[in-house]
């Protein structure tokens, strides 16, 4: 009979303790998990090689995407950045206001309810947002802004803003709320009003956590496929400064062409290259976001 684990164990970097039979099973399961996680990035990398070899840097810098001739991802990359940037700029003031109010002014029971609503909203499937987008947003934006057509980068940005609002709000609220009470008491002891406290003391203290919330929201917005695909217009063109035209993001391109590319070497590799680019972009933002959030909870 093996001795149960104790707290006197030290094993340097790997930190693995001796395994009993059950442990082998668990280790195997962990290996499966490891393979899945690493395999995802690995496959993307390996499958992208053909297209990068044939296009070189032009893959990321080229604007033209003609299947069978040339693959340039610039339009999609720009589209992704513009749409995400738009979503974040729309979300930030709204989410911050909501987070501030919820954290500093709401009674605990109400606060719990609001957070509950946010969590529910965060779980609404993307296709539902897509449905709302094609039936209300495209037509609405077209009418209100007197545009030629409602399927634009701007529309996608708005839709994404609504989608990531719950997530950003709830995480930002966590950051605000976790500022210790002493800070607020000290501030009010100095004569600051509640609003001044919130604005000048609580907010600056929780900036890392809020930054983390925003970065995670960015990650989510950048990766959304279905909702964007339906409202963005699918036009592979670098948009310049006009965001009220149709465009394309990486996920919406992938969503539209994945079925086409099955079995076609070059086309598939190009899509994988797009996927790799997206993966790296999202991973970078998410990684940063997690660091900020961890830092704020210390």
């Amino acid at each position: 009979m093996k001795v149960a684990r104790g707290n006197d164990f030290r094993s340097g970097l790997s930190g693995i303790r001796s395994l009993d039979p059950a442990g082998w099973v668990f280790a195997a399961m962990n290996l499966v998990f490891l393979v899945c996680a690493v395999g995802l990035g690995g496959f993307l990398l390996v499958e992208s090689v053909p297209v990068v070899r044939s296009e070189g840097l032009g893959f990321w810098l080229g604007e033209n995407w003609w299947v069978g001739e040339t693959f340039g991802a610039l339009s999609m990359i720009c589209g992704s950045l513009i749409v995400t940037g738009l979503a974040v700029s729309l979300v930030l003031p709204v989410a911050l206001s909501g987070a501030l109010f919820t954290s500093e002014y709401l009674a605990p029971s109400l606060r719990r309810r609001v957070k509950g609503v946010m969590e529910l909203l965060a779980g609404v499937p993307g296709i539902i947002y897509g449905l709302l987008g094609v039936s209300f947003l495209t037509v609405g934006i077209k009418d209100v802004l007197n545009l030629l057509d409602g399927n634009t980068l701007f529309t996608a940005g708005c839709l994404l803003a609504i989608m990531i609002l719950p997530t950003v709000l709830t995480l930002a609220e966590d950051a605000l709320h976790s500022v210790p009470a002493e800070f607020r008491e000290a501030a009010q002891g100095l004569g600051l009003t509640k609003l001044q406290t919130a604005w000048r003391v609580v907010l600056p203290q929780s900036l890392p956590g809020i930054a983390g919330a925003v970065l995670l929201g960015v990650g989510r917005a950048m990766g959304e496929t279905i909702a964007v695909m339906l409202v963005i217009g699918s036009l592979d063109k670098v948009p310049g400064f006009n965001i009220f035209v149709a465009g394309q993001t990486i996920p919406s391109k992938l969503g539209r062409e994945a079925a086409q590319a099955l079995g076609s070497e070059q086309h598939w590799s190009a899509l994988m290259g797009l996927g790799l680019t997206l993966f790296l972009m999202v991973a970078a933002f998410t990684f940063l976001g997690n660091i900020f959030i961890k830092r704020s909870s210390r």
């Binding site: 009979m1 001795v3 149960a4 684990r5 104790g6 340097g12 930190g15 693995i16 009993d20 039979p21 059950a22 280790a27 195997a28 399961m29 962990n30 499966v32 998990f33 899945c36 690493v38 395999g39 995802l40 496959f43 993307l44 709204v94 206001s97 909501g98 501030l100 109010f101 609001v114 509950g116 946010m118 529910l120 779980g123 609404v124 499937p125 993307g126 296709i127 539902i128 449905l131 709302l132 094609v134 039936s135 609003l195 990650g219 989510r220 950048m222 990766g223 959304e224 496929t225 279905i226 996920p251 992938l254 969503g255 099955l262 996927g275 997206l278 993966f279 998410t286 990684f287 997690n290």
Partner: protein, 275 residues
Amino acid sequence: MVEKAVLAFIGAITFLIVLLLVFILGTLLVKGLPAFHAGFLFEESRDFGLSGGIFYQAVGTLILMVTAVLWSLPVALGSVLFQTEYLSGKFKTFLTQLTYILNATPTILFGLVGYLFFGVYLGVSWVTGSLILAVMILPTLQVSIREAVEALPEKYREAGMALGLSRSSQIRRIILPQCFYGIVTGVLLGLARAAGETAAIMFTATTFSGIQLPQSFSDPVPTLQTHILVLAQEAANPQSLAQAWGAGLVLLGLVLMLTLTAWAFRTRVVMESEQ
């Protein structure tokens, strides 16, 4: 004075945000209920989805999400237990980071790589779809299970040690039963996430017409999500939109039900760990 105005302003914004959920739910209800004629839930779809019901689509969605959790649960459970009971230090942190990265990965990528990994061998089928979804919801399950395991008070493990139990016995008799609710929470959240996923399965698991119930591992399935997608692309046709709303209502109802049930279980997890 300014203070009151600002307060009112951000209060109003908060209120409107909450209203967003009401709006979404309300729209789905108002637009979706008309599609709910007597047999909507139990009829098959006719006329390319323009009339009839969504029975086989709903079944397809259920098949995918349940089998996804079936594949995912053992892996999630085993990997979390391995990490919490047998590991410490940098490797453990690395694995935790991996979970977060996997969680944040755009779901369309699961579809793309999943096709290479599974689809090339198993074809476009519900098995491929459920395997892909299983990988996708792995982090969701892991997070819930880890929360439960780590929330377990030390005294339980100490009691086990005092009794001289081996690690596997400890896990089996003490940790797992106490974490039961955490595991259930994870499963329910995983189900909810799998139910709503469209991008990962739309070219790896589904078909437009011809299949009602899959008869073998290599058959594709119809799903609610892709059904809505096809109908949404005919946005100018009020009839197809009405059907889309109806299907959307069913899908959202399913997701909400699962999420709310998960919360009920999560409260019990919190209660247990506070004892």
